[in-house]
């Protein structure tokens, strides 16, 4: 955060609203900075985010639940820095959420329909859970309509659709074989709409928050990968940022749970860790705001690849992962490894030079005295002759 920006923000009046609601200025700035960092933006973006958060008209959000466990919502509710429920409720206008709705029954259904009608083309639709398609989708019904009908009705009217959690992203656990309900992800139902997938079981609440803030701040969707996931959160393999990665590179593996290597925090690849084929920011973002190591691999369990279609809920948990192409670490020895010892040193070169110099000098001297000696010898022999 730039100095100028921070003073600006520190003295800005726009925070008073939040402060009244119990969010300290310090916590708020921390939050904005953390969000900027999550999105992979420069820290100066925190100012812009703060401004947006302080002044933006709260966009209406409709949160739909389908076939799921509500884990994503629960996880979101438990995000605590800063008190995220305050922020999420003040930042957005959560018009409808089956978990958080105060109202019930026909009353709340009416709220939903009114909001959709009022905000058509403006609201953000967050979907949690997969959509059953077998047997006309009868396996999930809300207010008498199947999930299939609901999403087909509401989906196209949204400004943006966010599929939170693995279920909504690609079917998740319900889509695992034999998939009795014919569960599908939102993007398989709304094939014409751009859908932001935020897979994870549960999805990291900060990834959702960052996505929404990105949208509000920059008025556009974040860059997505081929699977529709924001690149800022799903751009790298778990393997790449894993704190156990150095053990992988050093060939140190836990061979079984509880063995010496496992206790020492060695790499879990041989136990079936899917980190090498799973794209997610878990090792950086962590879970539960309780400090370091609070993520599956950190606690000693191999990553099971929940953010990756075809890995999580599909591959056996302890089957070894296919290691995706990762540029090998710079620390690996090259084919031709230049050696640091054995080369010439100043001492060696100096003594070699000195020896050569001495030899040349001596040689010249000897050659010279040989000529002299010859003349002397000749003179002696001539004398002898005479």
């Amino acid at each position: 955060m730039s100095k100028k920006g921070s003073i600006d923000v520190m003295t800005g009046q726009r925070l008073t609203g939040l402060e009244q609601k119990g969010v300290s200025r310090r916590d708020f700035l921390k939050f904005c900075t953390a969000m900027a960092a999550t999105m992979g933006m420069p820290l100066s973006m925190a100012d812009l985010i703060a401004e947006t958060v302080g002044s933006a008209k709260r966009p209406p959000v409709i949160w739909l639940h389908f076939q799921e466990c509500t884990g994503c919502t629960e996880s979101l509710l438990r995000a605590t820095h800063p008190s995220i429920e305050h922020l999420i409720l003040d930042l957005i206008s959560l018009d409808y959420s089956e978990t958080l709705n105060a109202a019930a029954g026909h009353q709340v259904e009416e709220v939903l329909h009114n909001s959709v009608k009022e905000n058509e083309g403006k609201f953000i639709l967050v979907c949690e859970g997969s959509v059953p398609t077998n047997d006309g989708g009868i396996y999930c019904k809300i207010g008498g309509s199947t999930a299939l009908d609901i999403i087909k009705d509401i989906g196209p009217k949204a400004a943006a659709v966010v599929a939170i959690g693995s279920c909504a992203s690609w079917g998740g656990v319900q889509s695992a074989a034999p998939n009795p309900t014919g569960a599908k992800g939102i993007n398989q139902i709304l094939t014409d709409t751009t859908i932001i997938n935020l897979p994870g079981c549960p999805a990291s609440p900060y990834n959702l928050l960052s996505t929404i803030l990105y949208y509000l701040t920059l008025k556009k969707l974040p860059e997505l990968d081929a699977m529709g996931r924001p690149k800022f959160a799903y751009g790298r393999l778990v393997h790449e940022n894993c704190e156990r990665r150095p053990h992988f590179d050093a060939g140190r593996f836990a061979e079984e749970f509880g063995d010496d290597g496992h206790r020492q925090g060695w790499c879990l690849y041989k136990l079936g860790c899917k980190g090498p084929e799973t794209y997610a920011n878990c090792p950086i973002q962590l879970y539960g705001d309780v400090g370091s190591n609070a993520w599956p691999v950190g606690t000693g369990h191999p990553c099971f690849g929940c953010t990756e279609k075809g890995v999580g809920f599909t591959k056996p948990i302890h089957q070894q992962a296919t290691v995706f192409t990762v540029t090998p670490p710079a620390t690996y020895p090259d084919i031709v490894e230049e050696k640091t010892t054995g080369g010439w040193t100043i001492g060696g070169a100096a003594i070699a030079g000195a020896a050569a110099g001495a030899a040349v000098t001596a040689g010249i001297k000897v050659a010279k005295s040989l000529s002299e000696q010859e003349t002397k010898d000749n003179q002696t022999s001539e004398k002898e002759k005479s």
Partner: protein, 379 residues
């Protein structure tokens, strides 16, 4: 002509300077025994053989071929007129070879197992190293026997031993000619198994022959060099006429060498590497210029009689031989994989120390034993 001790003071100023180098060398050698080869040398896994093997053993023994080359000339080709030169040549050879043997003990990592080379259970006759070791060890013994009369001459109580020794000497002389023929060529064969590590400019199946020829020419060159050098250093008259005749052998042998050397290079199509413009091609050209100089000079009878030219061509011949060996074993040797080698300060100082000890021994021997031919002063 009789040989006679030179006499005179042993602890002269040059001798004391040599002693300093000798002591430094010995201290560093002790360090090597306590802290390992790596503590004093730059030897490494890519260049397992460095200064010590290449200079002290491969080159040192070739320089020490004076005795061998002279013996061949005198006893095989029956040129008795060179006899006065033999004993000092023999002694220099004896020191050269003995110190090569000492160097082996410094260079080998597990020197306490060296006898395994000769023991029936472990000896490996397929190894060229085996052949070199056996011949060098035998030759050192043979040279001491050949030289031993010097210890007994002029002493009444040893007359019987001397007579017996002289009776069997012809056999040792013959052995002393055979052994260097075998191992000087094998010193070349050693590098054949190194294959592609040695640059095509030097790697050839003719290495044994080329090494043998150059060892002999270096032998003659060192006799010339030593004689002229000791004439200056020890203030003795020059032996120019004999030396110039002897030096006449060198260019003839070198022509044979060139025929094989370049014939082989052309046959293998490796001659183009001369134009690589790198250290190797430069050293190759330098090496061959040093070979050509004595050929050019020594073919001229007039220049051959001039001690200055004689000396310079002998030096050039020696340097050529030295460079040829360094080139084959070090400059032209590239194991790849990023290994580099240049001798370290301590490594060179150990070699310098060994050479200093060699010269000191030479001085002691010529002053106390009948080695150099007696000078016939004007009455």
């Amino acid at each position: 002509m009789e040989s006679k001790p030179l006499g005179g003071k042993i602890f002269t100023k040059p001798f004391k300077i040599l002693m300093v180098f000798g002591i430094i060398g010995v201290i560093l050698i002790l360090k090597r025994y306590f802290l390992g080869l790596g503590s004093v040398s730059n030897l490494n896994d890519g260049y397992p053989w460095g200064m010590w093997i290449v200079y002290d053993v491969v080159t040192g023994t070739a320089i020490a071929c004076g005795g061998y080359a002279m013996a061949m000339l005198i006893y095989i080709f029956n040129k008795g007129e060179y006899h006065p030169l033999i004993r000092s040549a023999l002694m220099a050879g004896m020191f050269g070879y003995t110190l090569a043997g000492v160097s082996i003990y410094i260079d080998t990592g597990r020197w306490w197992n060296l006898q395994n080379i000769f023991l029936p259970g472990t000896a490996n006759p397929n190894s060229i190293m085996f052949e070199v070791a056996v011949c060098v060890a035998l030759y050192v013994a043979v040279m001491w026997i050949e030289f031993s009369p010097a210890f007994f001459e002029g002493k009444e109580q040893h007359k019987g031993k001397l007579k017996l020794l002289n009776k069997v000497m012809f056999f040792f002389i013959a052995l002393g000619i055979l052994l260097p023929t075998l191992h000087q060529s094998s010193l070349g064969s050693l590098m054949i198994i190194a294959g592609q590590k040695v640059s095509p400019l030097w790697q050839t199946n003719w290495l044994p022959l080329l090494y043998l020829i150059t060892a002999i020419t270096m032998g003659y060159a060192i006799v010339v060099f030593e004689s002229l050098f000791s004439s200056i250093g020890l203030k003795r008259p020059l032996e120019t006429s004999m030396l110039s005749k002897l030096a006449g052998v060198i260019p003839k042998l070198l022509i044979v060498y060139f025929v094989f050397r370049f014939g082989d290079l052309i046959y293998r199509g490796a001659l183009g590497h001369i134009f690589d413009i790198d250290l190797k091609s430069f050293m190759f050209i330098l090496e061959n210029l040093l070979y050509i100089y004595p050929v050019v000079i020594l073919f001229s009878a007039a220049k051959r009689k001039n001690p200055k030219y004689l000396f310079l061509s002998a030096v050039s011949m020696l340097l050529a031989g030295v460079l040829y060996r360094f080139n084959t074993y070090l400059v032209g040797f590239n194991p790849g994989n990023g290994y580099v080698y240049f001798p370290s300060f301590s490594e060179i100082m150990i070699t310098v120390g060994i050479i200093a000890i060699e010269i000191m021994a030479y001085l002691v021997f010529v002053k106390t034993l009948p080695v150099l031919p007696q000078v016939k002063h004007a009455q």
